[in-house]
């Protein structure tokens, strides 16, 4: 057999053997079989020694070419094998059952927290500070400093939880007003910084509970005091804030309302969110919903806080966070809020839009 024939035969044999191989290890054995020290290609090289110099040169080149070719063929086949294996792995992977419902178990915030945070975000964006305040206060804070005289019905035992030590559970977030004026009055007077604060908090009224009445509920009070803060500003801020809360343009309407700590005092109505103002059972067919009391801070309340009412004016409002949460989420029974019933509460996984 001539060298050329032997080379051709070897190539044919390699092709035949490669086609039979399915495992990577066999392929490496084959590589040794052809290219190893005792391999077929090496054997061919060994046969060179019997040839003439001229032939040695020619065949030497051919065998070296063959060596490269064999190595490439094996690599190429190896790559093919690897690809096939990967394909096999991909194809054999199981299909997951997406018909099984996702596990959506998450923690939850209390709905009041969600509504409160939303209000806080809105007021913070307008430069209001968020104040925290105790739940147990003095009669002075809750009543006297707010121009609620000694014999006012609001101070009755029937409405207020008095404690044995003379303090009481605050009946309204307004109880923080005096403390807030004291805290910020120096900045107002010396640096001209207007007081802009909101103070969300829990309030208590001594009444029996049912679906719409609670003895423990949340309010959020807000005040703004400065030079020339006026009724027009009050209406503007209420309208802006409520439009933000409800994410739409809210119409507001002010009616006279009597609260000892504001003068003038107002009841603020908004156009009914359910019917848009044309009248429906939710708004008693009036098209309006009474939402929050507000007003210009009573001069005596400012005075009690150490602020001269001749020089400064301000407005205050009290928003019922509990009521707002009930409206926003359609909660019909107020008692669900303090029940700790997770079937009710676990739905409030997140609030912000």
């Amino acid at each position: 057999m001539s060298m050329d024939e032997r080379i051709a035969e070897l190539k044919a044999r390699l092709d035949a053997e490669l086609s039979r191989i399915t495992e990577g290890a066999d392929l490496e054995n084959l590589r040794v079989e052809y290219l190893g020290k005792k391999g077929s290609v090496t054997e061919l090289l060994k046969g060179l020694k019997d040839l003439s110099n001229e032939e040695k040169k020619t065949f030497g080149q051919k065998v070296n070419l063959l060596k490269g070719e064999v190595s490439d063929r094996i690599d190429e086949y190896k790559a093919r094998l690897a690809k096939a294996e990967l394909e096999k792995e991909l194809n054999s992977a199981p299909e997951f059952d997406m018909s099984v419902p996702a596990d959506t178990q998450r923690g939850s915030y209390h709905p009041i927290t969600l509504v409160q945070r939303e209000c806080e975000r809105i007021f913070k964006s307008m430069g209001f500070t968020v104040e925290d305040y105790s739940e147990i206060v003095s009669e002075y804070e809750c009543f006297e400093s707010l121009n609620i005289p000694k014999h006012h019905p609001a101070r009755d035992m029937q409405d207020t939880y008095y404690l044995e030590n003379g303090q009481l559970l605050k009946t309204q977030t307004s109880a923080a007003q005096n403390r807030i004026y004291s805290k910020y009055k120096a900045q107002l007077i010396n640096e001209g910084k207007p007081i802009k604060a909101i103070f969300p908090g829990r309030c208590f009224r001594n009444e029996s509970t049912d679906a719409t009445h609670e003895n423990t509920f949340f309010q959020m009070e807000g005040v703004m005091v400065g030079k020339d803060i006026n009724i027009s500003n009050l209406i503007f801020f209420m309208k802006t804030m409520l439009s933000e809360v409800f994410q739409r343009d809210i119409k507001v309407r002010l009616r006279p309302g009597f609260f000892p700590f504001v003068e003038p005092g107002f009841e603020l109505d908004i156009n009914c969110l359910i019917c848009g103002g044309v009248g429906c059972p939710s708004c008693n067919r009036s098209g309006w919903l009474e939402l929050c009391p507000c007003g210009m801070i009573h001069p005596r309340v400012l005075e009690e806080g150490g602020i001269d009412p001749e020089e400064y004016t301000g407005y205050a409002f009290g928003l019922g966070l509990t009521r707002l949460a009930m409206m926003k989420y359609g909660i019909k029974d107020i008692r669900d809020l303090n029940s700790g019933n997770l079937k009710a509460l676990d739905q409030f996984t997140d609030g912000e839009e």
Binding site: Y109, T113, T129, I235, S286
Partner: protein, 786 residues
């Protein structure tokens, strides 16, 4: 309170104005009007005055009569009528064929064999009273065929004002005050109220009357006799009925009418029973029977009207049964008085009896009203019953007078308050229309507050701003944002800490935020074997479940866990809430804001659950404060705590709270197989922990070497101690890789990570350290495990 548009129109001409629109403006400018407005008489037509000309019995019915009726149309109409009071010559309200009474349309109708061409109506059927005993008996002289609406004020617009919105307006508890508001709103003139001049009787003898207690501000009275009429005119009865009162008899109706008209409560006594009127309190409590027949306990603070020493009425609240007007009363004493508002309110609360009169007195009535109301009463009475005779001089003691209030204000002040420009002319005109006395000097005003607004309502500039702006209309305000300097707003660390805590617990650990009450749930605690601990209490509570303020939140949360124990096999709840931990040295409540977390599991061991909670706390402290957490054993002091495994929690070196296990009694009462652990963190202390900040170290360039060593040890503490003692700077991290407990022995695998900042470590230098650790531990009897 119901209000009649007809009545209001007695005092202000509102003709040509849209009444519904006016009422809605009243609601926006004065006081809240209930949504439903009643258009009385709207659904009534075709009812006329008719005379019964003949009455024949019905052949087949005891009840029915066959009538011939003259309805003014030149013929007699056949009517079958079932009313018991039919008689020949009687005039009544007759609904002709085609008439409408609400949904009922009158058609010829067969009744027991006879056709009735119309219907005689009761007062109830035409809607002017609730009298349905018989057909209306018209005694006034109207021609047959006169439409009933022309004869009487059947048509009216009635609206209701929310009493609460009148709390501060004593002047609005009668139609005259309301009419004043309508006059101001509409720009029409308010008419003076017509009265009877009592001056000519000044020479008559006065009533023997004396105020003996300053709680009576003014007492006016008058005696009269010779009353011949007992029934009030129809129109008066209609007004009373439309405004929610029942007609009784002329005198009672007149006092009620006056109260609804002027807001002044009045009372008529039988003069025989009140010969010597004294207004006073008694030293000792006693029982008194009011005219509703109820015996009431009167105490020494309740002001009484007396006949010398015999009480005859509770001042401002209700008259007594014994002094009531009876059939043979011939002489009456009419009382019109003003009492201290707080005193009346307190008596009302004590007696648990609120009346139309006390409701008005509580609002601080204007004492100027008393005499005027008597003069008005006499005027109305004389119009109805001209023969009435006045038999005493007007007797009046005016013991307490409110000061006249004058307020100086200028346009500038009002502009600053409103933020809009309301002209001086408008200011003047508005105040005058509401009865204020105004002296104007350019843009400056000196304003005298009228007596009916001066008892508590209006006393300062801000009050006048309200008067001007409410009539101007808030709907007419131009609204704009505030002009105020801008400054950065600081967020408080207490607030941000709380927000972060909630976010981590909800978002990372899937816990549920709950709310609860601030008092101890006595009954529920009892079921769980938890003591209600001594603490500040709500005064005079009648409910043990709303009495003692809680000292901790954990017990509340155990109650909530119990409520939810079927909710899921594993869940966790938390609350940031308040407690009171006794009183401080100044006697004030030591109020604390706590975070309480409770984990419940039916699938995990208490130990595993405890570690889970420990890890949560470590992440809270680590994340929010960049601080290390540590624990220190502490003794149980509360009935809900397990005595074991109670630890103080430290952030850095600040003690911020505790972590513990629920007492077995609590667990058993909920689910004996469950694990329950809790932690309480003082939010103020936690917020106060200094934020350590992130201190960046560049990652090492050389590879780390990790070595795991397993020791047979009950605790990790000696191992950590030994590593520390070995004192190598090469140890970068020590952690527990595994804990294995076969019941008898516990082995802990620690993982030590070694690194050098400047070079690759050799095996030898690492082994040197690990050998030292193993050696140190073996000396303490802790063996390396193979």
């Amino acid at each position: 309170m119901f209000l009649s548009m007809n009545w209001i129109s007695d005092f202000v001409d509102l003709s040509g104005l849209d009444k519904k629109e006016l009422i809605s403006r009243f609601s926006l400018s004065t006081a809240e009007v209930e949504n439903e407005i009643f258009f009385k008489g709207e659904d009534l037509s075709g009812v006329v005055v008719a005379e019964i000309k003949s009455v024949e019995p019905h052949p087949d019915s005891h009840k029915l009569h066959l009538l011939k009726v003259d309805a003014g149309d030149g013929k007699l109409t056949d009517v079958v009528c079932g009313a018991p009071n039919v008689r020949v010559g009687m005039k009544t309200a007759f609904a002709k064929v085609g008439a409408k009474l609400g949904d009922l349309e009158i058609t010829p109708r067969d009744l027991a064999g006879f056709t009735s061409y119309g219907m005689c109506c009761s007062e109830k059927e035409i809607g002017i009273s609730d009298n349905h005993e018989g057909i209306m008996d018209i005694t006034d002289d109207f021609a047959c065929g006169t439409d009933i609406k022309d004869a009487y004020e059947v048509d009216d617009i009635i609206f209701e004002v929310d009493n609460k919105s009148l709390t501060n307006r004593p002047d609005l508890w009668g139609h005259y005050g309301i009419a004043r508001e309508f006059a101001a709103i509409s720009g029409r003139e308010l008419k003076p109220i017509e009265t009877f001049d009592l001056a000519p009787f000044a020479s008559l003898e006065k009533v023997d009357m004396k105020i003996e207690n300053p709680l009576c501000y003014r007492y006016s009275c008058l005696k009269f006799e010779n009353i011949s009429k007992n029934v009030s005119p129809v129109n008066m009865r209609i007004r009373l009925y439309y405004c929610g009162m029942r007609a009784i008899n002329l005198l009672a109706d007149l006092t009620n009418y006056l109260m609804l008209e002027m807001g002044q409560p009045m009372h008529a006594f039988d003069s025989r029973k009140v010969e010597k009127i004294r207004i006073k309190t008694f030293d000792k409590p006693f029982v008194f029977k009011t005219l509703d027949g109820v015996e009431r306990n009167i105490d020494e603070n309740t002001l009484m009207i007396c006949n010398d020493n015999t009480p005859v009425a509770i001042a401002g609240i209700m008259g007594g049964l014994d002094s009531e007007i009876v059939e043979d009363t011939s002489t009456l004493t009419l009382e019109s008085a003003t009492f201290d508002a707080v005193s009346v309110r307190k008596s009302t609360v004590r007696l648990a009896h609120r009346t139309d009169a006390s409701m008005r007195y509580e609002k601080c009535l204007d004492p100027e009203l008393t005499v005027k109301a008597i003069e008005r009463f006499v005027k109305l009475l004389k119009d109805i019953d001209p023969g009435v005779k006045i038999v005493s001089a007007l007797t009046d003691e005016y013991a307490f007078r409110y000061d006249t209030i004058t307020v100086n204000i200028d346009k500038n002040y009002i502009d600053r308050y409103t933020g809009i420009d309301i002209s001086s002319d408008r200011i003047e005109q508005t105040l005058k229309s509401l009865g204020f006395g105004v002296t104007r000097n350019g843009d400056a005003f000196s304003v005298v507050v009228p007596s009916w607004r001066a008892t508590k309502d209006v006393s300062m500039k801000a009050d006048l701003v309200e008067e001007v702006t409410r009539i101007y209309g808030y709907d007419n305000f131009d609204i704009h944002t505030a002009k105020a300097p801008l400054y950065p707003v600081r967020e408080f660390v207490t607030k941000t800490t709380e927000d972060k805590v909630k976010d981590l617990l909800v978002k990372r650990y899937s816990l549920h935020e709950v709310h609860s009450y601030v008092w101890a749930y006595y009954d529920e605690y009892k079921e769980l074997g938890i003591d209600v601990e001594e603490n500040v209490k709500i005064k005079d509570s009648s409910n043990v479940n709303i009495e003692t303020i809680r000292r901790n939140i954990a017990p509340t949360q155990f109650c909530q866990v119990k409520y939810n124990f079927q909710y899921a096999s594993d869940f966790g709840i938390f609350e940031v809430g308040r407690v009171v931990q006794g009183l401080k040295s100044d006697g004030l409540c030591d109020e604390k804001k706590l975070l309480c977390v409770t984990l419940f599991s039916k699938t995990k061991t208490t130990e595993a659950l405890y570690y889970e909670l420990r890890d949560i706390l470590a992440v809270l402290v680590g994340d929010i404060k960049q601080e290390n957490i540590s624990f220190k054993k502490k003794e149980a002091t509360h009935s809900y705590q397990h005595t074991k495994n109670l630890n103080s929690v430290f952030a850095g070196n600040v003690e911020i709270g505790e972590i513990g296990v629920a007492h077995p009694c609590v667990v058993k009462a909920i689910d004996k197989k469950a694990s329950i652990v809790y932690a309480e963190i003082d939010m103020e202390k936690f917020s106060g922990v200094e934020y350590k900040g992130i201190h960046y170290t560049a990652p090492g360039k050389f590879p780390e070497m990790t070595v795991d060593l397993s020791f047979v040890s009950k605790s990790f503490a000696p191992i950590a101690e030994a590593v520390k003692k070995a004192g190598s700077e090469l140890v970068k991290k020590v952690s527990v890789a595994d804990i294995y407990d076969d019941g008898d022995n516990r082995s802990i695998t620690v993982r030590l990570v070694f690194a050098h900042p400047d070079r690759t470590l050799t095996r030898e230098e690492v082994t040197e350290v690990t050998d030292k650790v193993v050696d140190l531990l073996s000396k303490e009897g802790i063996a390396l495990k193979n």
